[in-house]
């Protein structure tokens, strides 16, 4: 793969930013600073970053309830993200959206979605807008293993295939939808195999291996930009935390702690870092420097979020209509 070292470093930085962002957020949650629930991306960083490293600013994504990782991967501003989680006026949505509805249209982030599977048709539509305009922008749709069983999956992917839309469907199969294991909700092993129902490529990759994710996406993006239509990529991954917040009450009841520990051994950041060190792309000192820099940024983000004003109550009445 001919990826420049700078890109690799940027990918690493983004992964670590996501990880630390989520950790900071959980700290703040424990301190009671967050007015709403959060779904963390910890453990799944290779997916969002591996995918988005292939995208340009004008390319678009639709995200999910577990969206922080996608947003950072697509270039989102951690300050405005954190402020949004705090419900502050300076947040991405002026405090109207919270964790589940962060968007940045200027970066092609068409928004996180509280409805599982809700972004599948809108992603097709975003790609349709590109096709109609004749630009070569692509749209990526992230969705979970649970979402793979929503009717929207079927309708949207079929539509995208028929119209050869420049969209890439990325299934983040983290093996569970809340407490429901994928085998209780997906009637076959690989969501990727469902691509065959629409005559489009479907590929399953190791979602802990960022280069595998990157390469599969590169191929799909090439197809999409060339007008050859959609692809389906399934990334096998794992969420290290509970469904919501940090550790959840149901932890242990639906998955064993052995299973969790087993997966944590394949921490995507640890794996990528080792590779980069081995390849000489990063030195240990670089790693420390990046970590420090991220932490400083996140210190700023938390401070910014804390110090930002809450919205005025009456602000609730704004932003309904254009």
């Amino acid at each position: 793969m001919a990826i420049g070292n700078e890109v690799l470093r940027d990918m690493y930085t983004k992964m670590l930013t996501i990880r630390h962002f989520e950790e900071r957020m959980l700290e703040q949650m424990m301190e009671g600073a967050l007015p709403g629930g959060v779904h963390t991306y910890i453990g799944e960083e290779a997916v969002g970053v591996g995918v988005c490293a292939n995208l340009r600013i004008e390319d678009r994504i639709t995200s999910t309830h577990r969206g922080h990782g996608h947003i950072i991967a697509k270039g989102g501003d951690v300050k405005r993200m954190m402020a949004e989680l705090f419900g502050k006026k300076t947040g991405y949505c002026k405090g109207k959206g919270g964790s589940m509805h962060i968007a940045d249209f200027s970066l092609g982030i068409l928004g996180a979605n509280g409805i599982v599977g809700g972004g599948l048709p809108t992603a097709a539509g975003s790609a349709l807008a590109s096709q109609l305009r004749g630009d070569d922008q692509v749209t990526v749709c992230f969705f979970g293993d649970g979402a793979a069983n929503q009717g929207t999956f079927h309708e949207a992917v079929n539509l995208a295939a028929l119209w050869r839309l420049p969209v890439i469907y990325v299934c983040e199969n983290n093996l569970y939808a809340v407490t429901t294991p994928a085998e209780k909700s997906i009637s076959i092993k690989d969501v990727a195999d469902r691509g065959a129902s629409y005559g489009i490529p479907g590929i399953a990759v190791d979602g802990q291996d960022i280069m595998a994710v990157y390469e599969a996406t590169a191929e799909a993006v090439k197809r999409a930009r060339a007008g050859d239509g959609p692809s389906l990529i399934e990334c096998k991954t794992y969420r290290f935390m509970g469904h919501m917040g940090g550790k959840e009450v149901f932890e242990g009841s639906y998955r064993t702690s052995e299973e969790v520990e087993e997966w944590k051994k394949r921490d995507p950041i640890v794996l990528f870092e080792a590779d980069l060190l081995k390849m000489g792309v990063l030195t240990k000192a670089d790693v420390d420097g990046i970590d420090k820099q991220i932490n400083a940024e996140l210190d700023d983000a938390v401070t910014f979020a804390k110090e930002s004003p809450l919205p005025d109550p009456e602000d609730a009445l704004e932003d309904l209509y254009a």
Binding site: A103, G111, I115, G125, E155, L159
Partner: protein, 322 residues
Amino acid sequence: MREIRFNRAIMEAMQEEMRRDETVFIMGEDVEAGIMGKTFGMIDEFGPERIRDTPLAEVGFVGAAVGAAAAGARPIVELMFWMLSYVAMDQIANQAAKMRYMFGGQAKLPLVIRGSAATGAAAQHSDSVHSIFMHIPGLKIVAPSTPYDAKGLLKTAIRDDNPVLYFEASNLSALRGPVPEEEYTLPFGVADIKREGTDVTVVAISRMVHNALAAAEALAEDGISVEVVDPRTLVPMDAEAIRSSVKKTGRLVVADEAQPTCGATAEIMALVVEDEDTFDCLDAPIQRVARKPVPVPFSPPMERFMTPHTEDIKAAIRKVMG
């Protein structure tokens, strides 16, 4: 002035707006063949990209329209019948209606969804659903009664940067009425006094405007002077016009082809009785004229019985006249 049919007015509005703005396009089932009559032949001028047949997948293509709008296109979705909104409900009620607001004003969603309701087609094809959508903030709702209003309001809808739901009443499609050759648009939120009167106000929606006018005509012979108010858009609703009329007449009948319970009729009654000045002018109980509270049955005697007609409006007027 020339007279054209209701359906023709709708088609003209779409044609003119599609010529004016090349990002406007139509999508829906069998729009190319134009089986609902409103897109018939448009394929010749605009081609299959802009008169776009969809697969039979309402949540998919309505969602695609939402996404296309978010990404800069201006889709007009044709639903064969409005009951199909049930199939696509999440994309309308929880995606399109909420996106701009929950993203803190970032999204612009220039999207029109239009369709009609069937008659003689029994329960599942016949729901008049505008009241349901009035309950959901973030949508604009149009219910025209004449070819003139239909054209002017649809052009406004297509130029609007928000999701607009456009309701074409059953039985109106062949109605003829004057429509100027010259271009015009009509504003949202401005009721039209379809007939002036002094004794009783009838607020009538869409098709019921014609029944109200017929009732007014008939009762004029008995010396009852009926004012017929057509709100034209239900969101925004011109409460002021309605209240002014009631303040003048002191009596109100509200007529809508839809179900009464939690319907537009109930809403208009509420708008009147919650306003102190208007309430003080009210000389009689308000009567609503709507469907009887059952699904639409197939057989004509039963369908006729449960559907509101001119006689029902006359009876209601007589009742409030005491």
